[in-house]
Symmetry: C2
Subunit: 300 residues, 2 copies
């Protein structure tokens, strides 16, 4: 067998509670342009952050089973809340391999720090869960971790996404529509607790935050390395597909397919195009009742 | 500040209970040829494997402190036993960063498996410690781990190293002196428990074992990916030095310096040249009493 010619054309499965995980899908589409992607956004039940762990585990299992049914070769949990609550459960229950966003982000933050002081910028729930702190301390018990809740960043992104075609077009042309004096002031105010502590690496522990990396980097200053868990998870995915000889063949024309539980798929498609960085051409609606059927027999 | 020009000429510190860690030093010298290396082998107190965890922690702390005193920029614990027993303690007590060999090996094994069945080939003590199983299951709770004790492999390597200049010269010329019918038969017998279980990735969890990777790969067959924790730790080190902008400048002429607690440094130098893949030019003796002084005040 000539192993060097092995390839796997099945799509990479990605899911999130809504739109945020499209930053991970975008990183995958940019870094691995030959890979097909099957994205599932559970918009109808978004946000997961205010739900119980048990409920998040059930929703995550349904999303993952939906992707598995669509023949993905690997599943990326592109949601920090779902990774913290459900990753190991999904890995145990599914035969398709599953990776999350926390471990790669934590490792990259450690590998980036010289001062051994790391900041974690995430939603309040993720900060409170301690998932990043645990992942970081498991890798380097001598690193100090400073969590900073920045839930307002999600609102900034979401409200900007709700604006019209003019802003959207500027975004698709490459302008940083979030780099405004108002946004920069709010970002500066929010991350103030991370300043003056000799922190030199900050991990973006929410899939919405890479959209604000311009203002965040500006506020933190040149000396601080900003690590995106979306980018790092994509690096890990690339390493996995390469080692397992499961990259799509170079000649493959990739398909990007999107599914959402949102009632209005046009809104999902318009807002999603912002984040994905290119138009979402194929968007389908998935009914919650279809998902319910997938969790039968596990009572999770 | 132009960050792209930052560099750090201080050596990379590496330690092991004796000679085995030189496979890690060799991988570093091959992959990062500009890096100076300061190696410490605690041959006088080798092997660590039969000692108490408390004792191994104390010895590891002494070795790490000796390296820190010699101004290394990072310490690599190139010994599985010491990594399992002492890594987090070292990370907490030392200001210089410390990495081990288990985490990188575990991650590479997971990233390599398609069948989600991974073998760990290590000394009996490392297998029994469960350190690899824990590291692997933390990353993918759905992977089955099969440990296989192969302590006899250490004896095979050590006894071959004790032979004369003729064998040594063949080794330095690139011949695989371990690829003999006798060694291959012993390797096949030892790893038999890993065969017929649909395992498709095996991690070499002992720093001696990369020397036997030829016979091991032959015995496992083409379908099984053999992961060397020495190689993977070097990849991790390279990522860390790159991200922290602490690689040595390209113009640096590296120094490779070796220290051992062995009474006879000529024997250490001769056997070490085998493993390091080139002559050890600078070897010094370190007295145990000098190390004792480094642990004063911690009573560990």
């Amino acid at each position: 067998m000539n192993k060097s010619h092995a390839s796997d054309e099945r799509p990479v499965g990605v899911f999130d509670s809504g739109l945020g995980g499209l930053t991970v899908a975008r990183a995958i589409a940019n870094s691995l342009p030959g890979e097909s992607i099957c994205y599932f956004g559970d918009t109808k039940r978004c946000p997961y952050g205010t739900r119980s762990e048990r409920e998040v585990r059930r929703f995550a299992l349904e999303a993952a089973r939906w992707l598995a049914k669509h023949q993905v070769k690997i599943i990326v949990v592109a949601c920090n809340t779902a990774t913290a609550a459900a990753l190991s459960t999904l890995q145990q229950l599914l035969s398709v391999p599953v990776i999350g966003v926390i471990e790669p982000g934590a490792r990259a933050a450690i590998n980036s720090t010289r001062s051994r002081r790391v900041g974690v910028l995430a939603t309040e729930l993720t900060v409170r869960s301690g998932a990043y702190t645990q992942a970081i301390e498991r890798l380097d018990a001598g690193v100090d971790v400073y969590g900073c809740a920045a839930s307002s960043f999600v609102d900034i992104v979401e409200s900007e996404l709700a604006t019209g075609a003019h802003v959207r077009d500027r975004w698709l042309e490459g302008a940083d529509i979030f780099d405004t004096p108002e946004v920069c002031a709010e970002v500066r105010r929010t991350i103030a607790p991370l300043c003056g502590r000799d922190i030199d690496a900050v991990v973006l522990g929410c899939t919405h935050f890479p959209l604000l990396s311009g203002p965040i980097s500006k506020a933190l200053g040149d000396q601080v390395r900003v690590v995106s868990s979306a980018e790092e998870t994509t690096r890990e995915l690339a390493d996995i597909l390469m080692r397992r000889e499961q990259l799509a063949a170079a000649t493959t024309v990739p398909e990007h397919r999107f599914a959402t539980t949102a009632d209005d798929i046009a809104v999902f498609a318009a807002a999603g195009s912002f984040i994905f960085g290119r138009p979402l051409k194929s968007v389908e609606h998935v009914d919650i009742s279809e998902l319910d059927a997938l969790s039968v027999g596990h009572g999770a």
